[in-house]
């Protein structure tokens, strides 16, 4: 019965790997560093989550494109009617005639450290759970 456990563990680990990668992508994308921007801001918006001031959500919309979620410093640095330009992976955001320096958020820096450790814990848990130890009577 070892093989089904190994197959199950591999499938679960792949799901965990995708979720950890998604965590990194979503928190990175909100800085706008990994994405290209080119357009005029048509609207901005802020939404309240569970803890006002801590987990607020910020959006900007370029022209008629779908709104994108951004970190608060990006939201604060731009205004409706301004043109935004930047290539992918650039940390320089052109806002109108000025340049705004982009930085990775605390969320992303936390995820970069936490996700590999959490994946390590998942792997160690699988190893401990599938390890065949002699059983105690009644176990």
């Amino acid at each position: 019965m070892r093989s089904p456990k190994v197959i199950t563990a591999v499938l679960l680990y792949l799901v965990g790997l995708m979720l950890a990668a998604a965590n990194l992508w979503f928190t990175a994308a909100r800085s706008t560093i990994p994405i290209a921007l080119d357009g005029v801001i048509s609207s901005t918006a802020m939404g309240r989550e569970k803890h006002a001031g801590l987990d607020d959500v910020f959006w900007i919309r370029l022209g008629s494109q779908p709104a994108i979620q951004v970190d608060e410093p990006v939201y604060r640095a731009v205004a409706i009617g301004q043109r935004l330009e930047k290539p992918r992976w650039s940390k320089q955001l052109r806002v109108g005639g000025h340049t705004f320096a982009l930085t990775w958020s605390q969320d992303f820096r936390g995820m970069i450290a936490a996700m590999p450790i959490v994946l390590g814990i998942v792997a160690a848990t699988m190893a401990a759970a599938t390890w065949n130890l002699p059983q105690r009577p009644g176990s």
């Binding site: 019965m1 979503f26 939404g47 309240r48 989550e49 569970k50 987990d55 979620q69 936490a114 759970a129």
Partner: protein
Amino acid sequence: MIPTWLDRRLLVATLPALLAGVVFKLFLGHRHDYTGHFLAGYGGTLGLTMFALRVLPAERFGSLSTWSLVPLCILCIGLGAITEATIFRLAKFDEVDFCNQSLGAVLAAAAALAYVGPQKPPQRHFHFGLIAAIAFLGAGGCFAFA
């Protein structure tokens, strides 16, 4: 002398999740809700898994228990997506909250590997696992909304 209720299964069902919770607090402590979603996803999935394994007939346990873990995990991830999109949707469906609670679900299914196999463990193991699950779910709720 180790008490009889403290066996390897219960240790696997509690210690890694506690450690992962500490990692979340350590590196993402500015967002209690991330820790909360992770622990709630863990507790909810562990609880459902313990219940499902508990009611599985002993004669079919060997053939079904291991293969049930991935579908149960996917089911819990789906239920988490529905709750995040409905009752917990405030400003938006938060993708990071969803990923964190789903990572908790994956860790719970990984821990449940200690409970499956050819022989069905005594019922008390599932009961202790369920109690641990409720504790993690409660802790997750506290972190998410505190």
